[in-house]
């Protein structure tokens, strides 16, 4: 998708694999079975976490990159 010109934020947990296979825009998440969630947080905090992940993804697709780049959610803004 990136090659075809669509900037794509990859939200995933195994970021080392994503980097190794060359995904350009990577948003680290917390678990393989729940890329946009974290069941340990409780409903309200989990929704806030998901929102931050999506916001980070939007920042990623609006940022120029030249190689696999991580866009982690900043801890303070969780």
């Amino acid at each position: 998708m990136e090659r075809a010109g669509i900037p794509t934020a990859l939200l995933c947990n195994l970021t080392s694999i994503a980097e190794r296979v060359g995904a350009p825009r990577i948003v680290p998440t917390r678990g393989i079975p729940y890329p946009t969630g974290d069941p340990s947080l409780g409903a309200e905090k989990e929704r806030a976490w998901r929102r931050r992940l999506v916001e980070r993804g939007l920042e990623a697709v609006a940022t120029a990159v030249h190689k696999p780049t991580l866009f982690p959610v900043d801890r303070e803004t969780e």
Partner: protein
């Protein structure tokens, strides 16, 4: 076992096992099951077993099981001492529809037969109908507990017989024995909860449990039981844990050019942070135990490769040479990248074959476990093509099989 039959009573006589259908069904019976049927499928039969759930080798340590399958049949205590009676060449096989299970096929003849551990054993196939309204979890538990009890009962039928063979297995070497390299196995378990979990001493081994060291003899006595219903070719059935191929291969060289030094059980967590933690911890454990080299195995698909790569790298960092068993996922034509996550510090990998390569299965006269093979859009009796990935335990991550990949011309 040289011959099997169904009869009025469960008996063993000179290599022939006769099973009472009524007794077998009664051992598996449970409020969650409306019906239980047993039938034999033997090597060479024109029989296909579909929807295979698990396979158990009949074993006992004495009347009433005597401690076999600790935590299920016997008390939850370490085993691996004394005598274990084994009905070699047999398996109790549960087969049928469960909602989270992935299709797994065994052919008793034809080209797929030698690829599965069950293609060469006499299989007492347990089929079932769930009770109306029963929870699927309860159906699964009934099948698991019933097949373990049945396996123990079958082995008891031969308690009075003279064994055809007696194997004396080495115990763990003395802590100070440095006469030969101490080589251990790390056995990764894909254990994530109901329908996708592994039991150790009857307890579900948690997805973030810390790696633990066990005596290989415990495996012989069924301390590790599979509850993994996914990954047909990349799972480790109970039967394979009982016959842990890496332990068997290490024992075969024990005292010759190495010492079989132990087994580390490790979960495969579902997130990168815990994968890194348990891998680092497993490496420390191996160092503390004085292992000179380690063989790492997995269960499951691509993300389980990460668990092996992390452990290989962590061990090599501590100066412990490591080998891992990988299944290749190179596409149907074998030209794709073979593995998802290779190690970076050492690259000694054994290939258990290409998961994607297709094979042609012949038509069969009899099917057990179900009527259809949906992944092939065919009836269970039809001839069809399947990737090796659907043949039960064909790419055995624990190294049971004889497949590997080579470059074609």
């Amino acid at each position: 076992m040289r011959a099997v039959a169904l009869g009025d009573q469960t008996t063993y006589d000179a290599g022939t096992l006769t099973v009472s259908s009524a007794e077998a069904a009664a051992l598996v019976a449970d409020p969650a099951l409306a019906e239980v049927r047993v039938s034999w499928a033997s090597p060479g039969d024109s029989t296909r077993i579909v929807k295979v759930l698990d396979a158990v080798e009949p074993r006992t340590k004495g009347p009433g099981g005597g401690g076999i399958f600790p935590g299920f049949v016997g008390p939850a205590m370490p085993q691996g001492r004394g005598t274990t009676h084994v009905l070699r060449g047999t398996a109790v096989v549960t087969a049928g529809f469960l909602p989270r299970a992935q299709e797994a096929v065994v052919d008793m003849s034809g080209p797929a037969a030698p690829l599965s551990p069950l293609g060469t054993t006499h299989n007492l196939v347990v089929e079932f109908a769930p009770a109306p309204g029963a929870a699927w979890e309860a159906v699964y538990e009934a099948l698991r507990n019933g097949s373990l009890a049945l396996a123990a009962r079958l082995a008891e039928a031969a308690l009075g017989a003279t064994p055809d063979a007696v194997e004396e297995l080495p115990g763990l070497p003395d802590a100070g024995d440095r006469s030969l390299p101490r080589v251990a196995a790390i056995t990764n378990l894909q254990t994530q909860g109901t329908f996708k979990e592994i039991f150790v001493y009857g307890r579900s081994f948690g997805s973030i449990a810390l790696p633990t060291l066990i005596d290989p003899g415990d495996l012989d006595d069924g301390a590790v039981v599979s509850g993994q219903l996914g990954h047909p070719s990349l799972k480790n059935p109970t039967w394979v844990f009982q016959n842990h191929p890496v332990v068997a291969a290490l024992r075969a060289r024990h005292g010759v050019d190495l010492l079989c030094a132990g087994v580390v059980l490790s979960p495969e967590p579902v997130d990168a942070t815990n994968k890194e933690l348990v891998s680092a911890h497993a490496a420390r454990l191996c160092k503390a135990a004085g292992f000179d080299a380690v063989i790492v195995t997995k269960e499951g698909g691509g993300n389980a490769d990460a668990d092996m790569a992390l452990k290989m790298d962590a061990l090599e960092e501590l100066g412990i040479p490591t080998v891992a068993l990988y299944a290749e996922m190179a596409g149907a034509d074998g030209t794709g990248p073979s593995i998802v996550v290779p190690p970076t510090k050492a690259t000694a990998m054994v290939s258990t074959g290409n998961y994607d390569e297709r094979l042609s299965l012949p038509a069969m006269e009899r099917a057990l476990g179900g009527d259809r093979v949906d992944v092939a859009a065919a009836t269970a009796l039809d001839a069809f093509e399947l990737p090796a990935a659907v043949v039960y335990a064909s790419l055995s991550p624990l190294g049971w099989g004889h497949l590997t990949c080579q470059e074609a011309s």
